[in-house]
């Protein structure tokens, strides 16, 4: 007959308890380690087909969709008194090459500032070189343009945490421009 029988002297497992972190030295991690820049990583990830979380971990991570991200980012700009136009065509020169035609998720022509949330659809135009060049222009204290590029934001636990990360990224971007007297 089946019964309930609390165990009073269970042999403690030897594998450790609590969050233990040791980065394994596998060839997979060597590949990942070779991806030096966050931008590069974002591009690689965004070039993959997103797959939502459908069960317990380990599963592919959920991510903040482009629509969600744009709503959040536009909101931060608006709260800082910066109105952005959506889906603005933007021509950008990369060194001596012919201008590259992009479309920005949000842009203010008067202030010459804007942003692009890089989703899988954007990875063909927002290449590593383009992002590097935009980042470089961002560092300039005059002229600009000041375009913030944001890699796909992943949701590790609560979606709100990811939304907050995104908000902070943009808020810091605006604060930086302000501190440098650009806006």
């Amino acid at each position: 007959m089946l019964r309930i029988e609390p165990i009073k002297s269970y042999k403690i497992p030897r594998y450790p308890q609590g969050l233990y972190y040791e980065r394994p030295d596998t060839h997979h991690w060597k590949i990942a380690g070779g991806i030096a820049s966050v931008a590069m990583l974002a591009l690689l990830v965004s070039s993959c087909k997103p797959v939502g979380v459908v069960g317990p971990p380990p599963l592919p991570p959920d991510m903040v969709t482009e629509r969600e991200a744009r709503t959040i980012i536009d909101g931060v700009f608006a709260r800082n008194g910066i109105d952005l136009q959506a889906d603005v065509p933007f021509s950008f020169s990369l060194g001596d090459q012919n201008p590259i035609n992009l479309e920005l998720d949000g842009f203010n022509k008067d202030l010459n500032i804007g942003y692009e949330y890089i989703s899988s659809e954007d990875q063909t135009t927002f290449t590593q070189e383009v992002i590097a060049e935009l980042d470089k222009a961002c560092e300039s204290n005059v002229g600009g343009p000041h375009i913030k590029t944001i890699g796909t934001e992943y949701i590790y636990g609560e979606a709100e945490d990811a939304y907050e990360d995104l908000e902070n990224t943009i808020q810091n971007f605006i604060a930086d421009l302000r501190s440098r007297g650009i806006i």
Partner: protein, 387 residues
């Protein structure tokens, strides 16, 4: 008592099903689908219950019997609430067509597939009303399903009659291409001591298979093992962790009545309605909702003092309720099963730790494993393409 936002809801679109699975806990199969009006009310209701994202699992009966309704409600939800509401589905898979997959692809709807194991095992319980087994029908669709989503989850139920198939069945699922197998016993079945002995032998076989797979770097998720390792390596369970019925997770019946969980819907009439905690047209009955939450959060008295408390499945109030009629009264089969399973799982995990198997360490101790694993999969896929 502070109530949580509703983060997960099952939307039971119909009582009807084309299968007659022997362990099904849903009520009588009958043609009584959710109306479009109720479905849209349910979407509006759920959107208002959470500031963040709410995940709706389309449920039944077999939800794909109401594919037209699914299309309408998903389109309405996307248009009105955008990605605030995410859809998932639990399906028997027999009605999946290219049209269904195309629609799901467009709207990012992923589903868990009910498949018990290999054909011999699956067809014991999962049969059509005509008594014909349903395995072949699903098997024919697997290629298209994995093309749609290679991470599709297999959901498997074990009954005493299929216990001896367990190891072969699970291996077959992984061989077929599944990477995630969620498996549970039918705790309301008539289990006997000899069945536990059979299960023990099967789990031992599977432990070797699981360990070999991890050693070979094969990423597999088998819930009876993974969940129990996690409760030691990461965090033990507490009230609400695996079952937060009536609180952050609810279920909505075709009538629009709200229930603590799908297991409480039954036929959604007569005495079953006593379990209802509201209606999408008028909202929650706060007192009844709080009653269920408080009840579910009570200690499982029979388990106090047990060394495995917090590691086993006794915190699932729905399972307890279905087997014993009380959220906190644990059926003996859960205890017997955990006492048989836990030492096998821990012994296997000890070996994997001692041998420093990289995938074991990453899986259970690396916080970023889900995302690093996914990126890795993408890299492998990209590498493969260009190779």
């Amino acid at each position: 008592m502070e109530l949580s936002e509703v983060r997960y809801s099952a939307l039971n679109l119909t009582h009807n099903c084309n299968l007659r699975c022997s362990y099904c806990y849903a009520g009588p199969k009958r043609q009584r689908p959710m109306s479009l009006r109720t479905a849209l009310q349910a979407i509006d209701f759920l959107a208002g219950q959470s500031k963040g994202r709410c995940t709706i699992t389309l449920f039944g009966g077999e939800p794909l019997l109401e594919f037209g309704l699914i299309q309408q409600l998903v389109e309405y939800s996307r248009k009105t609430y955008d990605s605030k509401i995410a859809f998932r589905m639990s399906t028997n898979g027999t009605l999946i067509t290219p049209e269904v997959l195309q629609f799901f692809q467009e709207y990012d709807i992923y589903f868990a597939l009910s498949i018990d194991g290999n054909q011999a095992q699956h067809d014991v319980c999962r049969r059509y009303a005509s008594n014909r087994g349903s395995y072949q029908n699903i098997s024919d669709r697997l290629q298209a399903i994995f093309k749609f989503n290679p991470y599709t989850i297999a959901v498997s139920v074990i009954v005493p009659e299929t216990a001896h198939y367990l190891a072969a069945g699970v291996k077959d699922l992984f061989d077929k291409g599944f990477r995630y197998v969620l498996q549970t016993l039918d705790y309301s079945a008539q289990w006997k001591s000899k069945d536990i002995t059979v299960l023990k032998g099967q789990y031992k076989q599977l432990a070797d298979y699981y360990a070999d797979s991890l050693k070979a770097g094969k990423k597999i998720f088998y819930s009876p093992f993974d969940e129990r390792i996690k409760t030691w390596a990461q965090k033990s369970r507490g009230p609400g962790d695996i079952c937060d019925l009536a609180n952050s997770q609810i279920a909505i019946a075709p009538s629009g009545r709200i229930y603590p969980c799908v297991q409480f819907i039954g036929s959604d009439d007569g005495v079953w309605t006593e379990n209802s905690i509201g209606d999408v047209s008028i909202g929650f009955d706060s007192n009844k909702r709080k009653h269920f939450i408080a009840w579910n959060y009570e200690d499982r008295q029979s388990c106090v003092g047990c060394d495995l408390y917090g590691r086993c499945a006794t915190y699932c109030g729905c399972v307890n309720w279905r087997a014993t009629g009380d959220l906190c009264t644990v059926p003996p089969i859960i205890c017997e099963h955990e006492r048989a399973l836990m030492p096998i799982v821990d012994a296997m995990a000890n070996k994997l730790w001692d041998k420093k198997i990289p995938l074991f360490k990453r899986k259970f101790y690396e916080k970023s494993y889900p995302v690093s694993s996914y990126i890795e999969d993408c890299l492998v896929k990209r590498g493969g393409k260009h190779a």
